[in-house]
Subunit: 348 residues, 2 copies
Amino acid sequence: ARDINLAVVAGDGIGTEVVEQGLLVLDAALSGSGVGVTTTDFDLGARRWHATGETLTDADLEAIRTHDAILLGAIGDPSVPSGVLERGLLLKLRFALDHYVNLRPGKLFPGVTSPLGNPGEVDFVVVREGTEGPYVGNGGAIRVGTPHEVANEVSVNTAFGVERVVRDAFARAAARPRKKLTLVHKHNVLVHAGHLWRRTVEAVNAEFPDVTVDYLHVDAATIFLVTNPSRFDVIVTDNLFGDILTDLAAAITGGIGLAASANINPDRTAPSMFEPVHGSAPDIAGQGKADPTATVLSVALLLDHLGLHTQARTVEDAVAADLAERGATARVRSTAEVGKDLAARVAG
Amino acid sequence: ARDINLAVVAGDGIGTEVVEQGLLVLDAALSGSGVGVTTTDFDLGARRWHATGETLTDADLEAIRTHDAILLGAIGDPSVPSGVLERGLLLKLRFALDHYVNLRPGKLFPGVTSPLGNPGEVDFVVVREGTEGPYVGNGGAIRVGTPHEVANEVSVNTAFGVERVVRDAFARAAARPRKKLTLVHKHNVLVHAGHLWRRTVEAVNAEFPDVTVDYLHVDAATIFLVTNPSRFDVIVTDNLFGDILTDLAAAITGGIGLAASANINPDRTAPSMFEPVHGSAPDIAGQGKADPTATVLSVALLLDHLGLHTQARTVEDAVAADLAERGATARVRSTAEVGKDLAARVAG
Ligand SMILES: CC(C)[C@H](C(=O)O)[C@@H](O)C(=O)O
Ligand SMILES: CC(C)[C@H](C(=O)O)[C@@H](O)C(=O)O
């Protein structure tokens, strides 16, 4: 078995802290498997931008491209103008590496407290489109700062882009016991984009006849996420709706401290990227307070993507066991302690 | 005191049922006040469209314009292609009558069950922009139905449009005990529109120095709505984010059966429109199962808009008392029974 050549973008704030624990658990998961890990650190984020004015250079991008996968902590700091690092670094990586499947599981692990009390079994996955929609940066403004300013944002949706992510979502739904796919959009208002999504889902359904499809407007979907989250199996949606729904999904399944994500290039023409859904959390950075669980679950998604399914399950099981015990003991642990405990469970 | 000249658009599905009760309560609230109500019914919605192909003609619109206010039930039916009635009727009314303040209270009344259990006092109001953003219908598609289709949706935001709704939101915040305004947007991705909103809020804050302002990305706002809804006082946001947040707000405060809304033209150059947030609910239409409370609370907003504040408070108090008792008795009542009970309470 070939070693994993991993690009590490720890990034800003708590990013460094959680990535360190993610790597610890990754090592533990691979120990004895014959597969090793080589990591290359990329100094990207607020510090680099302040020092050099650079967000992600062509050279960075080409260097990252040579890796098998990317582990990313968090990007962003209040000292950097809004949008600079998000669009110049994080979204640039997702777009340049064609991460068109942004995969975000919404799973309520036993023992985890939900703001919904006991909503029953919650175990869905959101397939968020990652390279189109209102995220394309296709906007602009005129007469900025005057009373006549007009600021536009263009959501771009293509048959090519929608079809490939919809097909991926159907394949995931077909592989799950319930085989259910929910399209979330707002086709009664965003008629052009919405109808493209709808027609595409109908068309691709023919290739997956055993998958049941339903549709929800994005506003209604938020209602069901709090009143009946068990109804969801696989959700497929656009980039912006997916952003919104997955934060809500994280909130109802125990918080963003537990929410994992994978930015996947299913065609494997570039490395996929694994990152917790949470941000850099500057308010608690450097204090050892961040929960590395979201990063560790992202490592499980990374292992799955690389075909190391046994190891992925081991990591997930370790998290499940840790969360179950956490509910029972309520002991407060530091970032490093949680990482150490998870690594120990993984090691067996 | 002049009579109220009310345009009634009962619309589709449960719209007719809930509007009937809304009018009953309105009558009860005005009895003895010296103010009467004259209603004109407008046959708009799915039935009319099937019969004539019309959604909202110029003649309809001009007739509606002569009224003091509009009470709307619900618009939409699965038999009509998605978008036809939404854009041709409901949104056309909001845009043509310049309803730039879409007001949606998020209040958890005592006795009402929330999926959040006991989240503490929840009493905020969302000021959703109503005439701009991704709702302008400024999109289009090319090569529709081919593998080369491109479907765009344009969010249009102007200094004029943003400033007027932001100023309205500040005025509302200034008049509330907590004096707090939260701007919700996604300015790290939608940088042009987002920065316009941000700059506008900063600028208008100078006119309302005693209002405290904070900012949340829309994804983070959904988290707080389920983990700490008490943190919100007044939220100001764009048309689409407002659509999403207010359904979520409804869900956490007892469901869309209770969620009122007002489409306000604060300059009074055209009648404002009052409607429950819920839709036409064809699955339960005609069965007397719909809760008219959202419509009745919308009637309270109507009374407030027309300066009949005492009557508005009486209606709200009746709803509060009814909801408190409802929690205690759990008796199932029909649409008409709830309306009758509310009217009786209002009558005193
Ligand atoms: C930081 C931001 C650009 C990003 C997004 O909107 O995609 C984040 O919210 C996420 O969900 O990964
Ligand atoms: C029916 C639809 C067009 C409408 C909207 O999106 O505004 C509805 O969801 C609402 O919130 O009033």
